[in-house]
Amino acid sequence: MRFGKSVFLTDFLTEMWMTFCRSIVFTFCLFAMLSCIGCASDDNDVIKNVSSLEELDGESLSVLIGSVQDLYLSEKCPNCNYLRLGSVPELLASVEKGVSDYMSIDSVLLIGGHLKERNLKSCFVLDLSFDVGVAFNKDNERLCAQFNTFLSEIKKDGTIDQMKRRWAVDSICDDSIPRIDTKKEGIPLKIAVMSSYPFEFIRNGEWDGFEVEMLRRFANYIGRPVVFQTYDFSGMIPALISNKVDAICSFLYITEERQKQVLFSDSYYSSNSVVISRISNLKKKNELGFIQRVKSRFENNIIAEDRWKLIVDGLYETIIISFFSIFIGVLIGIVLCFMRMSRGFLLSAIARIFVGIIRGVPILVFMMIMFYIIFSDSGLPARWIAIIAFSFYFGAYVSEMFRSGIESVDRGQFEAGLAMGFSKVSNFMNFVLPIAVKNISSVFKGEAVSLIKNTSIVGFIGIQDLTKVSDMIRSRTFDAFFPLIVISIIYFVLAWLLGVIIDKIASKL
């Protein structure tokens, strides 16, 4: 296609340029955010040394959104200027860079956060303590009872105290940690976790941490294998209720509201919350140059503890979900397109309604409905439920695209073929389809690229894709931004490769 080639080239360049621009803008925003955060604090501003709630009231304060500290402090210190963030690394970064002057968090979650190096210090302890327990499904009293017996045994023989000292006091993360092997055969115990250091995190490609060790010991105690699945905090209790997992063990406070929904074991830990502030506003001079800083962050976030393997696994998950969603989605799109264009009123109405509904519902909500309601008891792996959800979503979008592509082909092409004696099908395949494909290929490319980016929400249903993996690394290294930049580059490369592949396929047709 001589004519087609030039269009191909310009399309290709435009698409590449646009993708490039998008990622540049994204990275720029990040850097701008970082540098703004750095400038936000005034050097003359003195940090008060607060030691009580009364002194804290009126200051700027970062908390985890919806956390107990959030609820408690909102009530006690109504005049504070709250910044509600989603993860511990972000909290630390916000105080360190001067966006807020104070933050409040469970003290144990700060282990590994290197407060001194970040120019942070602990101010005072809040009068806010909660017991932490394992949550079970209300119908699963037997498992809960087994766990309670197990818990009382390890309390009695001192194992739990050793564990607490090792993980939450000393926090030595090396090979001195005892290895606990669990059984390989049998029905696995499925545990929902959220990935927060030092309770559960991935080290050298395997789950590790206080709660992980405890549950491995418990699994051995009842003679079953155990698997861990990451969930978003808001998704864990629904997953437990819909029997996607057997238990939640993720530093979960025993509260009255939660007790209405799930069954809690006895407490194995008591949390206490602290308020943290900067030591001084004087900026530390960076001894290291830019390149070296990037290098050390790269080593810390990507190389250490084989974290790159985690990224590779996440990338694999993202690619699998994207590829199958696009492939099956195109097939669904073709079926919907022909239903929509058929003369039968019923078929076309069904397709129209279906497309209308799917396009009207946010993909996240649609995926959640598929996961928690429609396929809740199917035993289908989360990955395939995500693929089904994205396939329908993509199919609904591309069906309309296909339809407009086909309708944009001059009817004369079709008539000319008919008049020569071609059948309707071969007429369509030979003369209509190639033009339609050429017409829609650039729009299709955009839609496929946005599908890849949309798959970043699969973390909500417990899939460790690229985005989720970066969250896990962030929660382990307490580095709020570097993993994000790394995965945004990977997404960019993925989108670009997909564009190239689609162009190759489109020019073959």
Partner: protein, 363 residues
Amino acid sequence: MITVNHLSKSFIQDGSMVEVLKDVSCEIAKGEVISIIGPSGTGKSTFLRCINHLETATSGEIIVDGHNILDKRANLKLLRRKMGMVFQNFNLFECKTVLENVMIGPIKLLGMPKNEAEKEGLRLLQMVGVSGKANSYPSELSGGQKQRVAIARCLSMKPEIILFDEPTSALDPTMVSEVLSVIRKLAKEGMTMAIVTHEMKFAYDVSTRIFFMCDGYIYEEGTPEQIFYHPQKPQTQSFVNRLRSLQFDVDNRHYDVYGMHQEISVFCQKYVIDRQQEYRMELILEELLINILPFTGPIQIVIEYSEVDYNLSLQIIQRNCTKEILDNPRNDQISVKIIKGSSQLVSENQHGEDRILTIHIRK
């Protein structure tokens, strides 16, 4: 070869039934070249499209080689292969090169080997004079070249008849002749053809028979000689002489004569009427209106111009009048002289209560 009996076709347009073809019967024999002429919107193209079933006729029958094409059991694909179709908008396969356009039919439908189809395709392209563009895409060709490729594509299927649906209507005037000369060549070689066209001279030259279609019927048919020089029916006459007319109703004494002159000058420009003729007509009208016609009742003025023989005529119809208009002794004799001097033929007669004066303006 093709027999059409009582064909009718209706469309539903904007909720109401439009009967495009009312009752069409005809016969096309092998070797004939039929031109279908007639005013726009009288179903010529629809008729042609019904023959190869691109439009489904409402009733009637179309018999091609003994098979009724409207029969559900008829092998439509096979029957269509016998009938090539050339469209007004060319409809070349845009995603294929010129050569592929003429190769794809033989390869996919006639089972011709590829190299043979290529040889045959190049021969056909040579015949229509576009072999130099064999590897171009249709979008790179001019309209005339596209239409010639379309004809070659049609011939590649070795049809028994070719249906041309206004083959030159979408072309620039400069490209019309190149397409017509290809069709002429085909006619010479004895190809059976049915051509819907507005090119009258071409239709006269090339056809063995002419169908004049009007109002959903074949209104008159005959040899080119009969239709163009001795048309029997009034609508045919008006059509073949390509009469253009302009009419004024002067119904009061204060009629806007300057407005009328303006309209006449626009009419003359539109049909490119000779300046001399236009001048003479204005002179005659002026003399008539100012010096001769007494306003005794409403007057109708009809100007007619034939695009075939370039005759310009003026008709004055005076209602409720029995007196002579021009040969009245009371007239200003200088005015009468001017009128007679500017005209070729003047006749005056009584038609019921109206007096009609017809003046053919000198060329």
